[in-house]
Symmetry: C2
Subunit: 200 residues, 2 copies
Amino acid sequence: MASKDRILRLKEETRVNILEAALQIVKAEGWQALSMRKIADVIEYTAPIIYEYFANKEAILLELNRQGYLKLAKQLQEAKDKHTSPANQLEEMWLAYWNFAFANKELYQGMFGITTSCACKMVNELPEAELPWDIITGSISELMKIDDIESDVICTKYYTFWSVVHGLVSINLLDRGDSDKINRQVLRDAITGIIKSITP
Amino acid sequence: MASKDRILRLKEETRVNILEAALQIVKAEGWQALSMRKIADVIEYTAPIIYEYFANKEAILLELNRQGYLKLAKQLQEAKDKHTSPANQLEEMWLAYWNFAFANKELYQGMFGITTSCACKMVNELPEAELPWDIITGSISELMKIDDIESDVICTKYYTFWSVVHGLVSINLLDRGDSDKINRQVLRDAITGIIKSITP
DNA sequence: TACATTTGCTTAACACTGTTAAATAATCTA
DNA sequence: TAGATTATTTAACAGTGTTAAGCAAATGTA
């Protein structure tokens, strides 16, 4: 009778162990290094038993993402509860969002799909990756009347531009189809807004 | 003598063929479906000969990314050349950037690391993914004094916020280390800017 | 022309990957 | 203790990236 419960508790425990092992591997070696056999190694079983807890590898990733969303939601809620005015709430929440992303890098990457596969090496191995930077900062420096292209001010402004555009792009690339016109308008507004803010 | 040239030209040709085949597969089946044997199938060779043209699979990805950056740079330059005033140049360039991203989705994904691996299914399979949305739009609607949480205005504002923050986060997650303080300030400025713009 | 050498390409193999089916070991039930 | 159930493993399949060995055709040399 009660032994059934104990067994169920044990099963639940190894389910948790699997997820913890997976996250541990991802934190140590990155998403692309995660494999069923490695998880099995960590929890001291062989690979096939994992399939008694999860349908497949994808299901494990999905569950990790799910927990990520729950954790993020919790921290957002806590941030929100610190204030009563919506303006303060918003600032506090987005800062919490930012903090969550860096406190849980791997989780965030999984949730919002940021591959470090080749991207990290690109900065070192691909000089061409700096071409867009060169072209655009030229205009920024001219507009701001600052000669030093590599000055912090220009760098910061470039990143501001890029963040907005890249953010919009990547969101739209994921759940595509969402009325392109509206997002185009958002983009245009954001860009002209930033341009105005740096025009002397 | 001249036959050497012909052979060199042929070799260059299959090098190009390999890259084209790779891109073709990626466009048809996505990055994760790309394999050396599939490339070999398309160019009608066996897998090992690819290694006479590229050191490994990573090198193929890197070269595709390189070409992506060149193409993007070219289109940015063309956009820039349309105007003389830096303000107009900037607007035109960022629109060109946006257009490039959607005209070359797969390339852009490779260059800036956006995995569609689980992300596309998440919207359907993970209801938890909407929790952050719920929490944040609550404050936005209160601030804007609009009751309907799912109205287009609020949706748009949410995406504006998210784009800025997510863009900054993902950029910082890739080439981390770049002075966190500065980016924190950029974030704060951007957020308070948007908040001001939607405060009645 | 005949032999030797280089080149182009393929087959075979290794160590991995996710996943499934069959075989075995451990446990519970009667 | 014998039988049934459950837990776990081993073996296998098809796929991955990658390397080494082999073969066959083209080339260079005498």
